[in-house]
Symmetry: C2
Amino acid sequence: MKFCSQCGHTVIQRIPEGDSRLRYVCEQCQTIHYQNPNIVAGSLPTWGRQVLLCRRAIEPRLGYWTLPAGFMENGETMEQAARRETVEEACANLKDLQLYMLVDVPHISQVHVFYRAELASLDFAAGPESLEVRLFDEADIPWSELAFMTVHKTLECFFADRKLEVYPVRTDALPPSRPI
Amino acid sequence: MKFCSQCGHTVIQRIPEGDSRLRYVCEQCQTIHYQNPNIVAGSLPTWGRQVLLCRRAIEPRLGYWTLPAGFMENGETMEQAARRETVEEACANLKDLQLYMLVDVPHISQVHVFYRAELASLDFAAGPESLEVRLFDEADIPWSELAFMTVHKTLECFFADRKLEVYPVRTDALPPSRPI
C-alpha cells in the first residue's frame, strides 16, 4: 500500500495512538488503513463413500487437486460462500451442509473453513477455475498431488472420523512459517 | 474507496473479466481492490459458575456489556486473537481455550468467533477500551444491556449447554438486514 484510498495522498507506516501495531496511515487525512485476515470457505462434497475433488486450472498450484473453496465475499455467510464456491468450481449443488473444519493459516493471514455436505445429484462438471472434477474413493485420493495443506488435513480428519461415523467440528493451525 | 492504494489514480467500480461482482478497479494500473469479511475473535471467560463481561468505554455501544472480543490481526490464529483481546479489554489471561461459537453477521460482513475459556486467575481489570470488568452469575447477566446480538446468542447457548455440561461447537447467523 502506497497511497490513501480515501484522498489519494501518500501513506506512511506508523503505530497510531492507542494502538500497538504498525498501520498504513494517511499523512493528509489521517485515515488508518487496517489490514486483516481473510476467510477461505469451501466444502467437502460426498456422494456415498466418494469425495469430490477439483483439479485446479489456475495458479497457485495449477494442476493439483483441491476441495472447492475460495474467498468469502462481503454480505455472505460462511455457508453461502462454501455453496457458491462449489457451484463455481465444480458446477455442483450441495445439501445438508455441516461445519466441519477450521484451519488457521497465519503466515498468509487466512482462515480456511470447510463444510461437509452431500452432493444434491451427480450433476457436476469443471467450472472455469477447474481442469477436471472427479469423485474419489478413499483409496484413490491423490495425496501427493493435493494443492494445499489445509485440504490435506481436512481429508485426513474426514477419513479418520468416518471410521467412527462421528464428525465433531475440527480445528487446526498451520505453523507461522509453514508453506500453505 | 476513491483512489488506488498502489498508484494513487482514481478507481472505478466495474465487474472484472471472469468475475461476477462489482469491484473497485484502478483505471490506470488495473489493480483490482477486493474487499472481504473480517473476523472478530473473542472469549467467554469463566471463573467457577461465573462469566466475565466488560462494559464498553468506546463506541459503538458505549456503556453496554460485552464479551472481550475484537478484530483478528494479520499473522494471528483465531485463538491468539481471542487471547490478545481478552488481555487488552479485561487485562485477563485465559487457559484451556475451546472453540465454541461462530456467528455470521452478513450485513456488516463479519464473522464473530468465541472461545470458551477459564480465567487463569482472578487477576483482571478494565483495559483502555473498558469502563468496568466484572464476573456475573447467570441470574445477574444484564441481558437488556448487552452490546451485541452475537454476545447475547453466545451467552444463551452457553447457559443452555451448561445444563447438560456438553459444549458442541455452535453456529448461528444473523439475518442479512438485522442490526448488530
